[in-house]
Each structure stands twice: as C-alpha cells, then as structure tokens.
C-alpha cells in the first residue's frame, strides 16, 4: 500500500516535533563539551611537544656518548704503544705516581 498525500499529511502531524524555545541548558552543555575538547587537544599537543623534547634530549645524549667513546678510543690508541714499549716496572711507577698525585690533591682539598 502506498499512502496518499492526505494520509502522509496526517501521519506527519502525528510525528511532528513539538515547537519550543531553544534549550539553553543544552546550549551550555555543548559549550562545556567544546571547552573540554579544546583543553584535551591542548594537553595532547603539550604531550607531543614534551615527547619531541625528550627524544631530542635522548638523541643529544647518545651523540655525546658516541663522541666520548671515540675520544676514549683515540686516547687508548695513543697510550697502547707506550704501554707495550714500557716495562712492567715503569708502568707500576707511573700508576704509583698517579695515585700519589690524586691523594695529594685530595689532601689539599681537605685542608
């Protein structure tokens, strides 16, 4: 059965939405939801920025560590030939001299 226009008009009247003034409580609810969504977006942006800074900091630390490692390798490559050319007694003397110098420094610091 296909309804005729009169039947459709009668049905439309039965289904009609009631007329009323705007619902200010609902308008306020949407306003609050917009504010909350804005704050959430802002917090998300802050978290992203913080993450970028942390990743950058981590990268800088890694770079510094690799540089230190490289310097250490260079120092080792300089010292290794000397260590092999020096005798055991000379190495012991060198280590003792370094220890004494460190202890002397500490004593001066305490005084």
């Amino acid at each position: 059965m296909t309804p005729n226009p009169d039947q459709l008009a009668r049905l439309a009247r039965r289904l009609a939405l009631p007329e009323r003034e705007p619902d200010e409580a609902f308008v306020a609810r949407v306003r609050l939801a917009r504010s909350a969504a804005g704050l959430a977006r802002e917090a998300e942006r802050s978290r992203r920025e913080q993450l970028i800074v942390e990743i950058g900091g981590g990268g800088a630390l890694l770079f510094a560590a690799s540089q230190l490692g490289r310097i250490g390798e260079q120092a080792a490559s300089l010292l290794a030939p000397a260590a092999t050319s020096l005798g055991g007694l000379a190495l012991f003397g060198l280590a003792a001299a370094m220890m004494l110098s460190t202890l002397g420094g500490e004593r001066e610091g305490l005084a």
Partner: protein, 181 residues
C-alpha cells in the same frame, strides 16, 4: 550578539570555521531542537542528547569542512546520522526493528507521554534507514533529494524507504489526524 541572531546559517558557519565560538553557539541554539528531535526519533530519547552533543562537537571541530553546498541544516543532519550509525555499530548492534511484542496500547484516555510512547514504539518497529527517511521527509520537511544526500543512499532507494516506512506507520498508528482517537 543581537546581530548574530539575524545572520544566515552559511554566514555563521563561515565565522565558526574561523573559530568564532559565539557564531557557532548561535547555530547550536538555532538547530538543537531539530537535531535532538531527529535523533530522538532515531535512537530514542535516552541516547538522543549524547548523540546530539557529539554531532555539534563534530560540527565545531570540522567546521571548515562545510563548503556551503546545500543547507547547513542538511550538513548537520548528515553528521547526526553518521553519529547514530557509529554509535549503533559501537554498541555491536543495530537498533531493534521491533520493540517488544505487546503491540500498540489501546488508544482510549491517553496522556501526552503515552502518545509519545506509542509513536516511539511504532517508529522502533521500522528499520533505522526507513525511520530516518520518514522523519527527514515527513517530519523535518527535507526534499527527497536532500534526504538521499543526508543518508547517503540513491534517490530511488530513499523514496522506497519513505513509502514503506510511512505505510507501516499508518498501519501501526492508524490513519487518523487526531492523536486522541
């Protein structure tokens, strides 16, 4: 503020797209009755307000997506329909096509609330797409073309859904002008 009240939807929508909250609020005030009414007819009064809030929030965050083609109200209805569909899918079900088995209550001595329940019950017996098509065309006065765009379906399908849904409602509610009878 008083100026905003007389501005066309499209002007207000343009302002909203530029971040003008007052303009957007005017649009909410102007359309909330229809959007909530549409969603209440679709999803029932309990879910309607949450879905309407979601609809307006999407309209605000995607305000720049309104290109001015077609009416702003139609654009809002399209968002409302998608919100309804997503919500229904998110709940892992479609709205039931049949609510209960008690049938339409006797029509004598009814209050407004009872009459609303009867209409709600009858609408609940339609498929969601049929229900949306009937409400958009018969209740909210959209043309078949507009309703087809809002519901994203071919025009012929839309017309079939309006005819089928209307016939079913007339069968359920009776062919009368007087809600008291």
């Amino acid at each position: 503020m008083a100026e905003l009240a007389h501005q066309a939807d499209e002007t207000l929508a343009e302002a909203a797209a530029r971040g003008d909250g007052a303009a957007f609020e005017r649009l909410v005030r102007r359309h909330e009755r229809v959007v909530r009414g549409f969603l209440a007819r679709l999803a029932g009064p309990n879910r309607a307000d949450d879905l309407a809030q979601e609809t307006f929030l999407t309209a605000w965050t995607k305000a720049s997506a309104f290109t001015g083609e077609g009416r702003y109200k139609g654009w809002l209805m399209r968002i409302a329909w998608r919100s309804f569909l997503m919500d229904s899918r998110g709940r892992g079900r479609r709205l039931p096509e049949h609510k209960g088995t008690s049938g339409i209550p006797e029509q004598a001595d009814r209050s407004d609330a009872e009459r609303d329940l009867i209409v709600e019950d009858a609408l609940g017996r339609l498929k969601p797409e049929d229900r949306a098509a009937v409400v958009l065309c018969l209740v909210l006065g959209h043309s078949h073309g507009e309703a087809a765009q809002i519901l994203d379906m071919p025009l012929g399908t839309l017309k079939t859904r309006v005819a089928r849904g209307s016939a079913k409602l007339i069968e359920l509610l009776g062919d009368t002008d007087d809600p008291e009878s």
